[in-house]
Each structure stands twice: as structure tokens, then as C-alpha cells.
């Protein structure tokens, strides 16, 4: 037998034998059972780890990590006032995060929440600006119509990639992403054109009937609650209700079972008699509708007019939030609040640097922590 061709690893064998050995080794085994507490515990552990890593960077940059973190915490969660601001920032993130969570559970990669957000904002604005309803319409009817229009426009925007995916198997990542670049100029077309406020690149301020109620609006009614100046608006309730609905759909409903099964194994889903084509369109519509609702909530609750710069990338951040929450609807709320706080504190500390870095590190550690969930890792002696 010609040893030269069949055993090319001969020198390597020698090298392996000569390698020094550590006195311990790491054993990685798949977990058979994941205890309930482990998932939240690893996520919290991952955030703590991220803060430690970020602290090292701050230290090297010449800052004091403890003081910086204390400042961030104070700026985001330190008082009722700033916490209210944090929640305002978190509101659109909860909704876009839920939009992504729903679609991602079916392995539909909806990257278009940003565009759906804009279209939702446009639809809600159309009710006021077209105007579909006069400014004197009672608030509850006005707001309901805006919600409906916002949801419907987002859903319509989401249905296009959904339809193309379901019927022609067009990659939804590309189409949903590209739809974003149609939505933004669409908004600009209107705010520069027929909805422009005296030539400025924004629409006129909405009438009060088109504003979502804020806590500060009730300051005079409940003087001893000190609500004055709190900008927290009803949109947060949309987010919380939507989280319950999404959680219920995914975990307790028949349709959610179909979504989870299709996401995990489409061939098994077909075998189980599930209509994948219909569900693809429906899930993309609901996902788009949630993102659209975020757009409506943002312009009716915060901006009160339509303009080009209503989103610092809420739709894209929604993707990150969904992943960090491990596609768990209630997890989305917590992660969105954390990110809302970081967005807010960002302005306090630095326009861009540290808070963005922390976002990045947190994303990294949380996603990497999945390993702990799937595997048992032990260190044993040789």
C-alpha cells in the first residue's frame, strides 16, 4: 500500500501528540430539557455581560464606567419624567418589534417594517389631511379611523412581498426591503406637495381631535398626580394590547400553531394540511399592519404632523428587538423599553458613541447566549 497517498496526516499526528494539554477541557452537550427560568436568566446575564464589556471600553476611553452607567440609568429611568420619555421612545419599538416577531416565527423575513411604519403614518395622516374626516369629527371617531387607516396601509404594504412570496416564491427579504425605499419618497411626495404647510417640508399640525391622549392632557383634571409635562400617550396601550394579542395568537391559537409549524418545517406543515400560501399573505399583512400602527401611534401621539423624519429607523430596530426578545411577544416589551432608554440616554451622554456601542454589544451577547440555552457547557478535569 502506498502510504504517501493514503496517510497525508502523518506529520499532523506527530504535531498533535506534541501539543501541550490543558488540565481541563470544556464539554458541550445538547440540552434535552430547558428549564423555564433559563431563557430569561441567560438574557439578563447577557445584558450584564454586555455592560461589563462596555464598561471596559469606557474605562479605556478614559471615562468612568460606573458613573457613565449611573448617568445613563438616571437619564432613562431616573424619574417619572424621564421614564415617561423612555416609554414614549419604546412605544413604536414595541409595535415594530412585535411585527417582526410574528413574521419571523414563520421564518418570513420581513425587513420592511420601516416602510410599513411610514405607510401607516401616511394612511393615518390621509384621514386628517386629505381630509377624509373634517377636523371637527369627535376625537374617538377620528382616532379610530386613523388607527384603521394606519393599520390597513401598513398591511397593504406588507401584503405585496407576502403575495409575491406566496405565489411566485420571490424572496421576501429583497422585496420587503425594497418596498422601504418606495415608502419614504412617497411620504416626501405628499409633504413637499399637496400636504405641505406653506411650502415647508411638513404637513400642517393636526387638529387636537387627531392627537392621541397624553398623560399631561389630564394634569388639570388630576392635579395631585403631577401629570404635567408627561408626554406618555395612548400608543403605549396599543403596544401592550398588541403584545398580548400576538402572544395569544402564537402560543394559544390554532393559527399560531400553523405559523410555528410552518416556520419550523414547511414540508411538515404541508403534510399536516396547512394552507401555506394563504398564511404567508396573512402573516405579512398582520406584521405590516402592526408596523403601520406604530407609524400611526408615532404621528398621532408624538409628532402630530406628517414629515419625512418621523423615524430614526424604528422599523429596522424592530428586527433587532425581535431577535433580542428571542421572538417572545412579552420579551419584546422589555427589550423595547431597554432600547427606548438607551435611545433617550444617548442624547444625554453623547449624540452617537457610547449608547450605540452598548446597543451593539447587547445585541451580540444576547444572540450569542443562545448557545447556553441549546447546550450544556461544563468544564471538567482531564
Amino acid at each position: 500500500m502506498s502510504t504517501s497517498t493514503t496517510t497525508p496526516s502523518q506529520p499532523e499526528q506527530q504535531r498533535l501528540r506534541d501539543l501541550p494539554r490543558l488540565p481541563f477541557r470544556i464539554v458541550v452537550e445538547p440540552r434535552m430539557n430547558v428549564p423555564r427560568w433559563l431563557a430569561p436568566a441567560t438574557s439578563i446575564g447577557a445584558v450584564i455581560l454586555a455592560l461589563v464589556i462596555g464598561g471596559v471600553v469606557i474605562q479605556f476611553a478614559g471615562g468612568d464606567p460606573i458613573e457613565s452607567y449611573a448617568h445613563i440609568f438616571k437619564a432613562a429611568f431616573g424619574s417619572v419624567g424621564v421614564f415617561s420619555d423612555t416609554l414614549v421612545k419604546a412605544t413604536p419599538l414595541i409595535l415594530t418589534g412585535l411585527a417582526c416577531t410574528l413574521a419571523f416565527r414563520m421564518k418570513l423575513w420581513n425587513i420592511g417594517a420601516e416602510g410599513q411604519f411610514f405607510m401607516g403614518a401616511w394612511g393615518a395622516s390621509a384621514v386628517v389631511l386629505a381630509p377624509l374626516l373634517p377636523a371637527t369629527t369627535p376625537r374617538i371617531i377620528m382616532l379610530s379611523a386613523m388607527m384603521l387607516a394606519g393599520f390597513a396601509c401598513g398591511a397593504l404594504w406588507g401584503s405585496v412581498p407576502g403575495f409575491l412570496k406566496a405565489n411566485l416564491n420571490v424572496n421576501e427579504i429583497i422585496t420587503s426591503l425594497m418596498m422601504n425605499y418606495i415608502a419614504t419618497p412617497w411620504i416626501l411626495f405628499w409633504v413637499f406637495g399637496s400636504w405641505s404647510d406653506a411650502g415647508f417640508q411638513m404637513s400642517p399640525m393636526f387638529p387636537k381631535t387627531a392627537w392621541l391622549p397624553r398623560l399631561t392632557d389630564y394634569a388639570r383634571q388630576f392635579p395631585n398626580l403631577q401629570l404635567s409635562g408627561l408626554t406618555l400617550h395612548l400608543g403605549l396601550a396599543f403596544g401592550l394590547v398588541a403584545a398580548v394579542v400576538v402572544w395569544f395568537i402564537l402560543n394559544r391559537s390554532r393559527w399560531g400553531f400553523e405559523i410555528r409549524l410552518t416556520g419550523d418545517n414547511p414540508r411538515a406543515a404541508r403534510y399536516a394540511g396547512i394552507n401555506i400560501v394563504r398564511n404567508t399573505v396573512l402573516v405579512m399583512m398582520l406584521s405590516g399592519g402592526l408596523a403601520g400602527l406604530a407609524g400611526m401611534s408615532e404621528i398621532a401621539g408624538v409628532v402630530h404632523r406628517l414629515q419625512g423624519s418621523i423615524s430614526p429607523g424604528y422599523g429596522f430596530t424592530g428586527i433587532i428587538i425581535a431577535w433580542m426578545a428571542k421572538l417572545n411577544a412579552f420579551g419584546v416589551i422589555l427589550v423595547a423599553i431597554l432600547f427606548g432608554g438607551l435611545l433617550l440616554a444617548g442624547r444625554e451622554i453623547q449624540p452617537s458613541g457610547v449608547p450605540r456601542m452598548l446597543q451593539g454589544i447587547i445585541l451580540f451577547t444576547v444572540i450569542a447566549s443562545d448557545v447556553v440555552l441549546r447546550y450544556r457547557i461544563r468544564i471538567v478535569r482531564r
Binding site: R25, R260, D264
Partner: protein, 507 residues
Amino acid sequence: MPENQIAVEMRGIVKRFPGVLANDHVDFDLRQGEVHALLGENGAGKSTLMNVLAGLYKPEEGSIFVQGKRVNLNSPRDAIAQGLGMVHQHFMLVPSQTVTENILLGLDQPRFLLDLPEYDKRVLALQDQYGLKVDPKVKIWQLSVGEQQRVEILKMLYRGARVLIMDEPTAVLTPQEVRELFATLRSMTERGHSIIFISHKLDEVLEIANRVTVLQHGRVTAAGLDAQGVTKSELARLMVGREVVFSVEKKPVAPGPVALSIEGLSAENDRGLPALRGLSLQVHAGEIVGMAGVAGNGQTELAQVITGLRRCASGQVKIGDQEISNCPPRQAIDRGVSHIPEDRAGVGSSPSLSVADNLIMKSYRHAPVSSGWVLNRPVIRQNAEKLKQSYEIAAPSIDTEARLLSGGNLQKMILAREMSTTPKIMIAMQPTRGLDVGAIEAVHRLLLQEREQGAAVLLISEELDEIMSLADRIVVIYEGQIMGEMSAQEANLEKIGLMMAGSRIVQ
């Protein structure tokens, strides 16, 4: 070659997993140039023991000697350096790369520039030595399962393996491919290689092995038996710990009306070639029709057309009087058609969903599993616990993800789901492939039970023994057509074999 020289010796191997003692002081020895079969039921600890030898698991206790020298195996690299190579049940190949590229994958040579034609030649030279024919320039995805297995073996030989561990190598092969594999194994032992052959198919073990070691519940119940002097039933008893009845008791059942009728059915396969050519078949209630045939003659497509997973070009499928050809799969499910698909992991189950969720895949649309829009969780859980117990699905809990179940337990889970709904029609495709003796017995019992309850069973299998002992009528499929039909009494292996090869028998 000195006879009886010990190539590998394992002494007192203990390996624990959370909650399981997988190997309990196991001794094992392998002689130079022999095929040593390692026999045992699912979960007996065969794969664990061999994963220890392949450097994948580190045992808690025990020692391993290769050519009389004690070795420490901390990784597959260590193992291959000692000449121990394992061919896993699920192949570890890159589909988009060529045979040669896969063989070279992970090696230090070549270092930077890849002179593929040169290495193709080396691979060819290696193939010539062992009679393992695969075109080295072909991409893996173009190869059949049997050819892919050859690539895995070549990979190990190229790395200088002297001892080859084969984990259930025949589970995925057709009978012809098994014959070719056995020829290869024999030519390897002639060249002084030693082979450990993990299996639970007794016939195969007796055919290929020189010696047999049997494991049961992590312990050795028989060490190094001479394969010549042992019978199938002795081995089965050692494996299962009790007598195994090979012939099942079949109660007489008077067949009822036609439940499933197929008329002139034609369909294409995935590549657009005709797979079924005007096939006709009837199955009565309370009857098992066994369909024999070499794999790839249209069996898969037939099962898919009946269950609505594939469209047919012409012909019709009727359940009772109702035509369901080219209806969506839900129609068939709602009309009481159960389907045990051949691809358990790819079609029959959902890997990341829990056992409980997997068990409701077919029933989630109906009460009491769901009411209206909402799933009924307590019912789902109770149902899952009940099925887990009565079908003996060995899983830590009903919340365990299906991907963590062993092949046999996955199949039991699918059987539990498909059989617990008392189907009118049962399409069972290779229901016992890869199962151990005890589990096969259970599946056979369950199929007969379905028949007694009045179900029409279409049993599609490559195991002729299985078909001959279970079926009331036997049909043989060849190139998408039925070659002939016979009652179980008048069937014999010769007759079926001729039809499987494509000759029509005129009665």
C-alpha cells in the same frame, strides 16, 4: 496478517448523560481484520460507546487501548490520528462541493493552493484499492445515498483509518446498495482493516459479522459471540431481554367494502419524469395490502398523490365514493387518511416543536384539541402524556423538542399521532425502517390492530418478510405500474423477486 491480534480494546467504559446511564462498565474488543457487530435496541448505548471510541464523548470511567497502547481520545482528531474513523448515520458532507473537496475538507494538506486534478487522481487511486467507485469530480448533491456513504468511507480511509466504525450503515440503503456495501467491507477486512458494524438488523449482522457483541440498557449481555454459532432468535432475546415472536399472529378479518380505490393514476416525480404510469389499485376496509418493490419505482409518489401532497396528471383516487385526486392535503386528512411518511425528520415531524405539539399536527383543527380559534392546552397535554405512555415514546417529557428524539422514538411519535385517530385508510411507508426488533414488533402489532378495527392499510415496504407476514394481499410495483397481485398464501419470495425485477406474471 497475524490472526486474532487485538486492534482496539475498551475496558470498563462508563458514560452518563443527565438522567441516563448510557454505558455501564462496558468492555469491548476488536480483532484485526474482523467485522464485529454491535447489536442492541434503540437507546441501548451502541452509538454512545462508539462515539466514545471516535473521540466525540469522554467517558467518566474506563480506558481505551489501540494496538495494545493506552490512548486518550479527546476529539475526533485524536481518534483519527490513532486510525479510528467513524461513518455516522447522518452524513457529514457539503452538498455543493465535489467528492474530492469533501474528502480534503478539514485537512492540513493542501495548504493554500488547491490542485484539484492532482487530488482527484489520489482519490481515484484510493478507490481502486478498495473498489469504492464514485466520480471524484461530481458534486455531493448529485449522488445517491449509497454513493454518499462511499464518500464518507473514502474520507476516513484517506485520513488513514485502520478501524472503521459504521453507525447503522444500512438504515438508509436499498437492498442492492447493502450488497455493494458488504462487498466493500469484505475487501477492506481482507486488507487488514477492522470494522465495527452497529446495527439492529439481525439478518444483516449474521451475514456480515465475524463476531457479535450485544448491548442492552447500557450493559453487555453477550461479548464477542461467534456469529457462526448463533441464531437470529438467540440474538433477539439477548437484545430485548425476552423472547421475540418473529411471526405475528394474524386474526382472520373479513374484508369490507372498497375504502381506497385508485384508477389509472399517472404522476411525475420531482424531476418531471413519469413516476406513476396508469397505476390501479384497490384496498378494502379491514385489509392490509402490502406493496413490494425496489425503492424509487413510484412508491413515494403514490403515497404523496393519495395524501394530496403531489398532483397527478391523470387518473383518480377515490376514498369510498368520493374523488379526492388533486385536492389539497387537508381533504385527505379530514376524510380519515393517515400517512406515515418515509422521511420522518423532514416531513413527518417538526424538529423544534415539542413532542406535544408534534402529536397534534393532524388533529389541531378539530375538537377537543381546539375549540374555535383556540387550542385547548390541557387536552393537548393530557393527550400527549397518554400517547407517550401507551406508545412508549422515550422522551424526557412531552415538552422535549422532537429533534432530540432518537430515530426509533421519533417514529413511535409519528405512529402514535397517525394511529390514535382510528383512521379509515392508513398509508404506511417504510414504517419499520431503522427500528429495532422490539419496536418493529410493536409497529406490526399496531398495524394489525388497525386492520382489525376496519382500517384499509396500504403497507409500502422494502422488507419482504414484513410484507409477507402482515399483508392479506401483495402487489408489486415496478416503474410506476403494478406488476401483479397475489394473496399472501400464494406468495413466495421467488415470485415477488421476479416481479420486482420487472417481469409481469400472468395468472
